[in-house]
Amino acid sequence: MNWKTFFALLSRDAHVARRNLLPMLLQNLLQPLLFTFVFGRVMTTSHMIPESYKSILLPGVMAISMVLAGVQAVAMPLIAEFQFTREIEDRLLAPIDIGWLAVEKVAIGMIQALFAGLVVIPAAWLLMGSGLKLDFGKPFEFAAVCLLVALFSSAGGLALGCSVGPTQIGLMFSLVLAPMMMFGCAYYPWSALSSFPILQIAVLINPLVYASEGLRGALAPVPGQMPMAAVLGALIGIDVLLLVLGLKKFHRKAVS
């Protein structure tokens, strides 16, 4: 393993991400934060929604932000770099096994996902005003969930970025990301689906469900919460699956 090259690749991506920091933050955080303001502040202050909803919403918004940030941080540049200009070729020729380039992309995606998730907490806190009750008493569970969520979002970005062409980006958002967000138990706890038993089972294929439930379980658990062991197990399984799939697709895309 050639660490010098790996860190050089990482620093290239970090350099580009830093340059695009503001658009990146707006792209990934504006929509979740607007949602937070409307539902967590406007609707609760006007008593249309009970104040306790604030604590249910925040972990979900954090999950969505992390997933969007991770997926986009990896998928969007990859789609651009793999199109006919083949910008990525320079890095494929770097003296390192090309699989490590994919791993590096996942690493930079994880960093961006974690960053987005951590920015959301204070931002949402400010937007929601008083009444938010978060419990940071389980730091290890919280950290483990954060890492696993960051990994699945950027590994998912790798798989998506290597299977979608530039003309299909819009399709990817409307077909993959939009339903994922709506049925990701981000805006409501999983237990709220108990009146829709079929849906409650069906959403279990959605990785965002485990992200939302995991973060909710770590920060503001509700009755009927998905058990933490199940969440962690599912996240690990999804991580491995998406990583293997992403690496495979990357190889197929990178070598002709």
């Binding site: 050089a8 910008e87 320079d90």
Partner: protein, 338 residues
Amino acid sequence: MGIGIRIENLRKVYDTPPPMAARGAGFSFTPVKSAPKKKLEVVALDDVSLEIGAGEVFGLLGPNGAGKSTTIGVLTTRTQPTSGRAFIGEFDIWKEQVKAKRLIGVVPQRPNLDFALTAREILVFHGAYFGQSAREREKRADDLLEKFKLTDRATHMVRTFSGGMMQRLSIARAMMHDPEVLFLDEPSAGLDPQTRLLLWDIIRDYNRLGKTIVLTTHYMDEADTLCERLAIIDHGRIISQGTPAELKATIPGGYLLRLRFDRAPEELMAELRKLPGVTEVRTADHIAADVYADRGGQLIGPIVNTANAAGIELCDVHIAEPSLETLFLHHTGRSLRD
């Protein structure tokens, strides 16, 4: 000490649409599984064997789609051969990719510069990928920018660059880590004559340092002036190889007269074969004839007379002096630019 290249029985069959020459334009996502498609098979390389000496300037000459870029793709680890082996120095390119990659620099057919970076950053990061120290890569980047006359644009994003500037920067990038073997895929395509001469000088200078240069081209003059040895490639096969002089010497007669008549019956061909100095006559489309001979213009008179005697009109004449172009025509029956 230079590094040589060896290619043994290389074969490449694409079962998906082959990438565009510089590889790319990939849409691998097929959302609709339509009726079973005919299995696509494109033979890009068919049993190619080559030896390129250390410190040599070697040219791969052929028309578009001949297999030049696929050869470069295999030699630069970017294309997996279907069968056969290739070596850079002692390293099997496919099995010891990382070691092979350290030795090579690649200038692609179409610039694939990193659009997210400035010109200087492209060079500096490239140096970093190859493990150069910060001081070393800064210095080399500045030297190369100077050499390629890009210093005043060093801090600009490359997406604003003209085609020629991108090409120069691509070459600078390929030289950044001082590779032993430099691959250039159609380096002068789209360059103005002045930049082309600058490019040739740069290639010669780099070769003088003992580096091996492999370039593909479909320009005869480029192959002729730049390359010490050549392989002519068409339909994935090596048709002929040797020094430019050796190759030209293999053309029967040397001169090629391309003739067009209002009709060209076999009797006329037989008469043409009897003319002095003619070594070979080939006919095409019942109106055209390629005459290989040891003389050029002097043959026109006798040809006109022969045609007149048979009541046939000569419509068009083109005389080609001994060149790689005529060599290519001789071997493939078509012009390089067809």
